[in-house]
């Protein structure tokens, strides 16, 4: 157990190192010189300014030395300064991260609130109308682009088409609970769909188990059998996937934040991309990717802890 955790931790650190290299080197995908591009975007055409800029941001040194300095600073919590605002990037990330975190947590809560009842009902009433409805719904949820779903929700619940009285939520912004509902619903839809499918198949599998048959033959009420015996055991894979999906929620938040004009890491990275503000792009990418790697590490370790029967060498089931 400890050896596994240790090995997994070492792999994660290695992967994070690789992630940092890729993130840093992406800047050099740019056709042309970053310093000139950034200054041109700020309508500065002065060669001396370009030189000064290069010196200020250490762009005049060889790449690996730049990377070394950058990594060293990052490990000390310093992501450099924004090319555009000259503010410390770490402060910008800290300002914007809570909004994204709240959105992702709310989306996960909504997803679970939809998926748990839908998945259980779907499995218990396999083949009936409620099952078909929930299966069709989850297919729709996986396939509907978030950026369109967001508009549809705005249309119905902000603008109030076709029912005027439904238009109660603000279209955009952040900071209050009513501004969180529609973005969280949009972001949570995909996860809700995936979890519904997963819980359904897990429930179907568990309902076939011997201990469920035993519970039934003891004459326990069906409700007790379903919730106490089957549901609890079906939760193991669901918890795991919820963890993994949380990483994807941070990722999907980018689009949802743009749709609802909501401040956050997504809005930050998109603005930075258009401004060619590389330190901000690098910091945001690295933070989101690191969270993603960290969550996957926790999920793997916890999963093994919850269910020691699982042999991770044969892959997650």
């Amino acid at each position: 157990m400890y050896r596994y955790t240790l090995r997994r931790a070492v792999t994660s650190v290695f992967v994070l190192f690789g992630v940092s290299v890729v993130t840093y080197l992406m800047m050099y995908l740019t056709p042309g010189d970053p310093a000139e591009l950034v200054l041109r975007a700020q309508t500065v055409h002065d060669q001396a300014a370009v030189e000064r800029f290069r010196e200020q941001y250490r762009l005049d040194e060889p790449v690996w030395i730049q990377y070394g300095h950058w990594l060293w600073d990052v490990l000390h919590g310093d992501f450099g300064r924004s090319y555009v605002t000259n503010r410390p990037v770490s402060a910008m990330v800290v300002d914007n991260a809570p909004s994204t975190a709240i959105l992702a947590v709310a989306a996960m809560a909504i997803a679970l609130a939809i998926a748990v009842p839908a998945g259980v009902v779907s499995a218990v009433h396999q083949g009936e109308v409620s099952d078909s409805v929930s299966q069709f719904g989850s297919l729709l949820g996986v396939s509907m682009p978030n950026f369109w779903l967001g508009y549809v929700l705005i249309l119905v619940f902000s603008i109030g088409v076709p029912v005027r009285s439904l238009g109660v939520f603000p279209v955009s912004g952040a900071g209050s609970l009513d501004r969180l509902v529609l973005p969280a619903l949009t972001l949570g839809s995909g996860v809700a769909a995936i979890m519904t499918r997963l819980l359904r198949s897990a429930m179907l599998e568990v309902l076939e188990e011997d201990y469920v048959r035993t519970a039934r033959s003891k004459g326990l009420a069906e409700r007790v059998v379903v919730y106490k015996h089957a549901f609890r055991n079906a939760l193991v894979p669901v918890v795991t996937v919820a963890g993994i999906q949380f990483g994807y929620l941070l990722n999907g938040a980018v689009v949802v934040e743009i749709v609802f004009a909501r401040p956050g890491l997504g809005t930050l990275v998109i603005d930075a991309l258009f401004d060619r503000d590389y330190p901000v792009i690098q910091a945001t990418t690295l933070v989101i990717a690191a969270l993603f790697v960290g969550i996957n590490f926790l999920v793997d370790v916890t999963y093994r802890y919850i269910d020691p029967r699982i042999d991770l060498r044969r892959g997650r089931r």
Binding site: F14, V15, L16, G18, V19, V21, V22, M26, M27, L29, T30, P31, G127, L139, L140, V142, S143, M144, P145, N146, F147, W148, Y151, V152, I154, L155, I159, V161, G190, I194, R197, L198, V241, I244, Q245, G247, Y248, L250, N251, G252, V254, V255, I258, V269, I270, L273, F274, R276, I281, T285, I288, A289, F292, V293, N296
Partner: protein, 321 residues
């Protein structure tokens, strides 16, 4: 027998009929047929959206040759009818016009071609590159395997859409760069899946005997290993079509893809942002087009996976857009 009893027996017979294997399979197939129909329709629209003219060089002379003369789009997708801005669906404009008076139906039709072309190119490239890397890593083993797969691990550690978004953003907004970004992110899954399936095959008796007979290594890989690992690749490619269509639309929606006046579904959708209230068709027509296409490829991928039953292909768990 009482009427109630007869009714019960009819019910019971109906139930056993409805859940019998052939019927259950038929209802499953009907869903598949529907999905196949939508995919076919999109492919048809993409092919016949507007005439295809190619330039060929015949004995030193450049000749233009019309390969496909039909046009499903009634208007030029970039043509602005400024007098008819934001007009609702009518006989003249089947799906209305956008804020510049461009025909939404024509733009949607041409948009199908844009999406399909990108999806086919990206999936083809990622499939070939990823499969090749997976084959080499799995068959060569040792340091080659370690090096390639660790690189794949690092790329897979990024949330895919974020990586594509940053690559496309840094390269600069254009559809070509969207294709590069999606391909750069996409090949890794093929590599991982293929490499996983190659390992058991290399141990198989027929590969061993081919080696003993002195068959060259490239020939073994292509003739004996590849055909046995192609099943998961087919399933993955089908699901990938959905992913690339969604990714292209999403990146264009964010402004990192198609530039005006290119009719692209994601760009059309974001153009409808300010007209949700007075012109619902501008955003929702491309929305429906994207969703139906993505949904159909997802359904086909799911069914293919159930039928072919490869072990290593994960669920559709990658929405993110």
């Amino acid at each position: 027998m009482s009427p109630d009893g007869r009714l019960d027996s009819v019910r019971a017979r109906y139930r056993s009929f409805a859940t019998s294997r052939p019927v259950a399979e038929f209802t499953g197939t009907r869903r598949n047929l529907l999905a196949l129909g939508v995919v076919g329709l999109v492919a048809f629209v993409a092919a016949f959206a507007e005439p295809i003219v190619v330039r060929v060089s015949v004995e030193g002379h450049v000749v233009t040759q019309t390969v496909q003369p039909f046009s499903l789009a009634p208007y030029d997708p970039a043509e602005q009818h400024l007098a008819d801005r934001l007009s609702p669906p009518s006989r003249q404009y089947p799906l209305g016009t956008d804020r510049l008076g461009r025909d939404v139906f024509s733009r949607m039709v041409i948009g199908a071609r844009v999406s399909m072309r990108i999806a086919v190119v990206v999936v083809a490239v990622t499939l070939v590159v990823g499969t090749a890397v997976g084959l080499v890593a799995g068959y060569a083993g040792g340091l080659v395997d370690e090096g390639l797969m660790r690189f794949v691990d690092v790329l897979l550690a990024f949330p895919g859409i974020l990586l594509a978004l940053v690559i496309a953003g840094i390269l600069g907004p254009s559809l070509r760069n969207v294709m590069i970004a999606l391909a750069a992110v996409g090949w890794t899954q093929y590599a991982r899946v293929v490499r996983g399936s190659v390992l058991p095959v290399t141990e198989a008796a027929y590969v061993r005997s081919a080696e003993l007979m002195g068959v060259s290594r490239p020939r073994i890989v292509l003739r004996h290993v590849l055909p046995n690992v192609i099943t998961p690749v087919v399933v993955l490619a089908t699901m990938d079509m959905a992913y690339v269509v969604l990714g292209t639309a999403g990146l264009s929606f964010l402004g990192l893809g198609a530039q005006p006046p290119t009719p692209e579904w994601g760009t059309m959708l974001s153009g409808g942002r300010n007209h949700l209230q007075d012109a619902w068709w501008v955003a929702n027509v491309p929305g429906v087009a994207i969703m139906l296409t993505v949904l159909s490829f997802n359904v086909l991928g799911d069914s293919l996976r159930d039928v072919l039953d490869p072990r290593d292909v994960g669920n559709v768990e990658r929405k993110g857009m």
